[in-house]
Subunit: 335 residues, 2 copies
């Protein structure tokens, strides 16, 4: 299995990217990598070129560029070239830590949507934080590929999430929930009321009803489906608050004198475990589900461990055939 890697994307590229790729290469003998980017910069950080193939590209798409224009104009950028390799069958999956919009645009316009899918959904694998929970994480989409969504899109997101949870996370008959502003069936605006009815009518979905954004990380469902606008607002608020709570504790410790500092030393393992649990990079990157191949994006600030974890996630997607399963379902339903 070959992964096309955007070696130039992300705040710590190419160093963190190459380090993570090398760690994954050493772990997984069944993987090879095509590294798209500036050969001189890539070679400067590679320690061992086994199963790593460098492919020269001459352009770069920066973090602030307008995505669709960038992928149209910069044909020789690492993002466009890596996505094209996947489209043409030269690679099985596309990985990047670069400009999110450009990666999404390259996924949609170059790799291409599965037949029958109207809009792909950007999918995060998030931690279940509730102590004692049997499951460690859940599937959450669409976290922002679409600012405006229709009823049909959300039903498709539910199926995309269901297949991911079954195949990649190994959950049998995953519980599907709708993010809404209340638990009852009649909650929400017209879109969410209608989607509730549509999801409830799908025999193949184990639909369990609404979940509120305050319960996002409480493990109430294996797949939480939402329009991109709301999911994005709730996800960012969750991430921002988790970060802010740790900042507040840190500040309290710094200003709490010797007693607080001693307390911190004793609680350090507890804080470390919470930090690990809440860190997005523990569970891999964001997957643009609904495309013909895995297109996976990690945070721009990803370190080598996050890159390695994301490649491990891509490998599981490839080995479990989650995309074939999805293609088969949507083909059957569009004949």
């Amino acid at each position: 299995m070959k992964i096309a890697v955007d070696a130039m994307g992300g705040d710590n590229a190419p160093k963190a990217i190459i380090e993570g790729v090398e760690e994954a290469r050493d772990l997984y003998p069944d993987l090879t990598f095509d590294l798209y980017g500036d050969p001189a910069k890539i070679k400067a950080v590679i320690t061992n070129q086994d199963r790593l193939n460098i492919i020269e590209t001459t352009e770069e798409i920066s973090m602030g560029e307008e995505p669709v224009r960038a992928i149209r104009k910069k044909k020789d950028s690492s993002i466009v070239r890596a996505a094209k390799a996947v489209k043409e069958g030269d690679a099985d999956a596309f990985f990047s830590a670069g400009n999110t919009g450009a990666v999404l645009a390259a996924g949609i316009f170059i790799v291409g949507r599965i037949h029958g899918i109207d809009r792909p959904g950007l999918t995060s694998i998030l931690p279940i934080a509730k102590p004692g929970s049997k499951r460690q994480n859940f599937v959450y989409l669409d976290t922002g590929a679409n600012a405006e969504s229709k009823e049909k899109n959300l039903v498709q997101f539910a199926y995309l999430g269901k297949f991911y949870a079954e195949k990649v996370l190994g959950v049998a008959n995953p519980r599907i929930a709708l993010l809404n502003n209340g638990a009852e069936e009649d909650k929400g605006d017209k879109l969410h009321k209608d989607v509730w009815q549509l999801l409830n009518a799908e025999d193949e979905l184990n639909f369990i009803g609404n979940v509120e954004s305050g319960d996002l990380l409480f493990g109430k469902a294996d797949v939480i489906v939402s329009d991109g606008w709301t999911a994005n607002a709730a996800l960012k608020a969750t991430e921002g608050t988790a970060k802010m709570m740790l900042t507040l504790i840190k500040d309290g410790i710094l200003n709490g004198g010797i007693r607080a500092k001693l307390g911190y030393l004793m609680l350090k393992p507890v804080f470390h475990r919470i930090g690990q649990k809440m860190s997005a990079s523990t569970y891999g990157g964001a997957v643009l589900l609904g495309l013909k191949a895995p297109v996976v994006k990690t945070h721009g600030s990803s370190d080598a461990t996050a890159v390695k974890n994301t490649i491990s996630q891509i490998r599981t997607m490839l080995r479990t055939g989650v995309i074939n399963e999805t293609v088969k379902f949507f083909n059957q339903n569009n004949e």
Copy 2:
């Protein structure tokens, strides 16, 4: 100044309500209270009836009831009677910890909107959690009075928030921001793009642009304006995550052996301060801004301190004349 109190609303009513009212009464010699509810139940918990007048009502609106139907049918409920007293000039403000929907409906249909206001906005005063911030809190609306909002509503929310920040929080020239899915002017769906332009065109607003939900508590603005749907999703996610972080820490301590427990004892003052800072009840209740009088709702789970703080907030609203200021502005702009 007289406050009409729904003595029967909330999980701990009438005990917590009456205790909080008595604390406020003892603090503020300029306040009197009309307590609406079951006289026997109220008298059982009152310690001193000075400036407390009990008014008998025979019906109760429970937490689960459909709000609009409830206020239409239960004319002798404490919520309807207290709201009517305000409408008829027998009281200056309405306070409740009961059924949120019923309090909003009573506010809109009985107390009534200010001339020129299309939709009132449910307004929370939230903490600024960023260490070292000069300001302690900010104004956030609409947190859920409206599931669907129009451009015009959000511009009105901005003015409602501005007057509240100026008069009640004492902020000169408050910074107004729009909750959106990115910082740049062209971010968001059509509603948010249009509202950005409208807010930016208002000379009397100190509009500073977009704020993302991840930065909600970071003190970037004195007033954050949003449609009810998005504000509600972001607020609930923020509250849920803060609660969840504390749960995780508690669980880590309980399962971390003697070392973690010792650490906790030493950090206890730090956690206590954070808990205080993050507690909604420190800053009062949610105000339905845009009505002809203060209508203020606290959490159903409010204790006596939360009730006292909310009454203190209502007193500040009355003393500063924030509603007169708002009425004057909207009258001038609707001649």
